[in-house]
């Protein structure tokens, strides 16, 4: 009897010990864009993130979601609130690079772990890298570099390039030029949030370029493509996936058909995780997922994988578990490089119409196991 009691007590102690190590509650603060012009991006990230947590059945994550309305000052206030009064362990969610630059350096300096589901400004990939900062999407240049590489294979010789004047826009054009071997007909920086591109389209018409590379995320891309189609310019458009994303393709309509774009994710990437993700996302929210949704989903799964192998209180072990990236990504192979940014394949997609729905299909791989140009500058 005595022996049994001791065994029982030991078992209970062990069990409690195990559950504690296994399921120490983690508090996650998500600052993302849920209102204003860029809301559909933030909503997709949030929905993807919440879906992964729901599917895992893990109840030890407390998620606090805040809306930054794409305003840097508001994002900084929210970050102070999450860190100082909510005392979160981990932060995530930011869509826009100018907001990321306002929030992330301060948050990681205060010892918070930041998992970026989208923004990947170059300043944080090179000399400004930090052991607490992980990017689960891409470094900003990646998709643009891939488009530069694709433009060479497709035989384009003279490209007209444009992007908004903010960190990600500058990263975009730098990335494209890094890989594109042809001539640049003209390079234009537009206002962030600009909705009228008549002046730029007139210049494209007059430039004699054989291709147009543009990076205009969200509503900016819709406006550009509709006006481009209306102007009757027939120079082919090339761009990163951000302007051909599931959430906005329906609003663009026929103007986007046939346009090639580069992405680390597509709904038809052939692996079990991705198939299950696309199906369950559609069942849960009644719409097709976008790449932003896949990034939110992957970010949550990365976090869950780390929680499964180390407690958050043991920070070095937790960081090592994050770095191992031992989770099944929707985009197939995924691992972190030395600067905590992804090494992954980047695909070429084409905009098609499936029934009544505009979507993308994979047509090839632009760059395999691609890292970024800044990793060498990161001393970590």
């Amino acid at each position: 009897m005595k022996k049994a009691i001791i065994a029982f007590a030991a078992a209970t102690a062990l069990a409690t010990g195990v559950t504690q190590a296994f399921a120490e509650p983690v508090k996650v603060g998500m600052i993302t864009t849920l209102s204003g012009g860029g809301a559909s991006l933030g909503i997709d990230v949030r929905d993807g993130f919440e879906l992964a947590i729901k599917q895992s059945g893990n109840t030890d994550i407390e998620l606090i979601v805040e809306d930054d309305a794409r305003k840097p000052d508001l994002a900084v206030q929210l970050s102070d609130k999450l860190i100082q009064s909510d005392k979160v362990d981990i932060m995530t969610g930011i869509i826009w690079s100018n907001l990321a630059m306002a929030v992330i350096p301060g948050a990681v300096a205060q010892g918070k772990i930041y998992l970026s589901p989208n923004a990947g400004p170059s300043a944080l990939a090179g000399a400004g890298c930090n052991e607490n900062y992980f990017n689960v999407a891409w470094q900003n240049d990646n998709l643009h570099e891939a488009m530069g590489a694709y433009a060479n294979t497709a035989g384009f010789k003279k490209s007209f390039i444009l992007a908004p004047n903010y960190p990600a826009g500058q990263d975009a054009l730098t990335g494209f030029k890094r890989f594109f071997k042809g001539e640049i007909a003209n390079e234009i920086y537009t206002k962030l949030g600009q909705t009228d591109y008549a002046a730029e389209i007139a210049e494209i018409r007059a430039s004699g370029a054989d291709s147009v590379f543009f990076f205009l995320p969200g509503g900016m891309g819709i406006a550009f493509m509709k006006q481009y189609a209306g102007a009757g310019v027939d120079v082919p458009l090339l761009g990163p996936a951000f302007s051909f994303d599931q959430g906005i393709l329906q609003a663009v309509g026929d103007a986007a058909l046939g346009v090639k774009n580069t992405s680390q994710w597509s709904k038809d990437i052939d692996n079990e995780t991705n198939k299950a993700f696309v199906e369950s996302f559609q069942a849960e929210y009644g719409r097709l997922p976008s790449l932003y949704a896949s990034q939110g989903f992957d970010t949550a799964n990365l976090l869950l994988s780390a929680m499964g192998s180390a407690p958050i209180s043991d920070k070095p072990a937790f960081l090592a578990a994050l770095k191992a990236a031992d989770f099944k990504s929707t985009r197939g192979d995924f691992k972190f490089g030395p600067n905590n940014h992804p090494i992954q394949d980047i695909y070429v997609r084409e905009v098609i119409k499936e029934g009544d729905v505009y979507t993308n299909k994979l047509v090839g791989v632009a760059l395999e196991d691609h890292s970024d140009a800044y990793a060498a500058d990161c001393k970590m």
């Binding site: 809301a39 559909s40 004047n165 002046a199 210049e203 509503g219 329906q250 309509g253």
Partner: protein, 306 residues
């Protein structure tokens, strides 16, 4: 730089100008007659875009959508005036700004609740979808041309309405002395509702027209609203004529600045630096213009009641 490109940019500036006029006319009319600063004007622009997109999707006709957006914006404007704005005429401008800003938030959330956060599909009607060739062989988007024509017609119509009709006379009288016109037996409350609905209809019309060119999404009214405020400050607050002239100036300066500045600067500095600095200055240009105008004419180009 070719002449064709220059002419095309002039037309683009003109098109931006008439669009801004549709927004600024309503804003300045409401301020001139009722002394009210209405931040929610951009929301009426957004409502116009959403109603047009929703009705066009349901009926398959852009034109029905356009008509519906006019009616919806005017009706909403009248309701808002009766329910909320009416209580604000005697308050100071800070109260008006706060209350109408609250309306902006409510409209944005309301539209999101009804239509969702994803942008809606709205294309120009098929007849205006492609480019047309102007005399001289310049191809130009037919839809932008239609916006210019519609804007000019509305500007003329509004001018006639205010200078030639009984309603216009009452509006002008209300601007000059609202106690006196009330004493003369004009129903000033009704007049205010009509003016507000008229301003709302102009904003809704602009929203529907522009929605087919840009994107129909929550928050689409705010960037235009800021430009419209710049326009009425330059033109002289409360003056329709000032709004027209300033709209065209702002439209042309903004478009030509974006187009010409990088080219001009590349004459004096390295090309990539010229492009960066040129586009940065171009985006400040209309605010610089506003500052310069205010230095020389603190009440704007055509001050009302001058």
């Amino acid at each position: 730089m070719s002449t064709a490109l220059f002419l095309e940019q002039l037309l683009n500036g003109l098109q931006l100008g008439v669009t801004l006029f549709l927004m600024a006319a309503g804003l300045t009319l409401i301020f001139g007659v009722m002394g009210l600063i209405n931040l929610a004007h951009g929301s009426l622009f957004m409502v116009g875009g959403f109603v047009c997109a929703a009705v066009a999707a349901a009926t398959g006709s852009f034109w029905i959508g356009l008509a519906a957006s006019l009616v919806a914006a005017a009706a909403l404007g009248a309701i808002v005036e009766i329910v909320v704005i009416r209580r604000l005429y005697d308050r100071d401008h800070l109260d008006q700004v706060l209350a109408t800003f609250a309306l902006v938030l409510m409209f944005s959330e309301g539209v999101r609740f009804l239509f969702g956060s994803f942008p809606l599909y709205l294309d120009p009607p098929a007849i205006l979808a492609g480019p047309v060739t102007l005399p001289g062989g310049l191809p130009y988007p037919a839809y932008r041309l239609a916006i210019i024509v519609a804007g000019v017609l509305i500007a003329i119509g509004l001018g006639l309405l205010i200078s030639r009709t009984r309603l216009g006379m009452q509006i002008r009288a209300g601007e000059a002395d609202r106690e006196m016109i009330a004493a003369l037996g004009v129903d000033i409350r009704f007049l205010y509702t009509v003016v507000f609905a008229l301003g709302a209809a102009l904003a809704g019309f602009a929203g529907a027209m522009i929605g087919a060119l840009q994107s129909v999404q929550v928050g689409m009214g705010e960037p235009v609203l800021i430009l419209a405020f710049v326009v009425i400050v330059i033109g002289g607050i409360g003056s329709i004529r000032g709004a027209l002239v300033a709209s065209l100036i702002v439209g042309l300066v903004d478009t030509m600045g974006r187009f010409l500045l990088p080219t001009l600067l590349s004459g004096v500095m390295e090309a990539s630096a010229a492009r960066g600095i040129g586009s940065a200055i171009a985006s400040m240009l209309i605010y610089l213009l506003m500052a310069v105008v205010l230095v020389f004419k603190p009440k704007g180009l055509f001050p009302a009641n001058a």
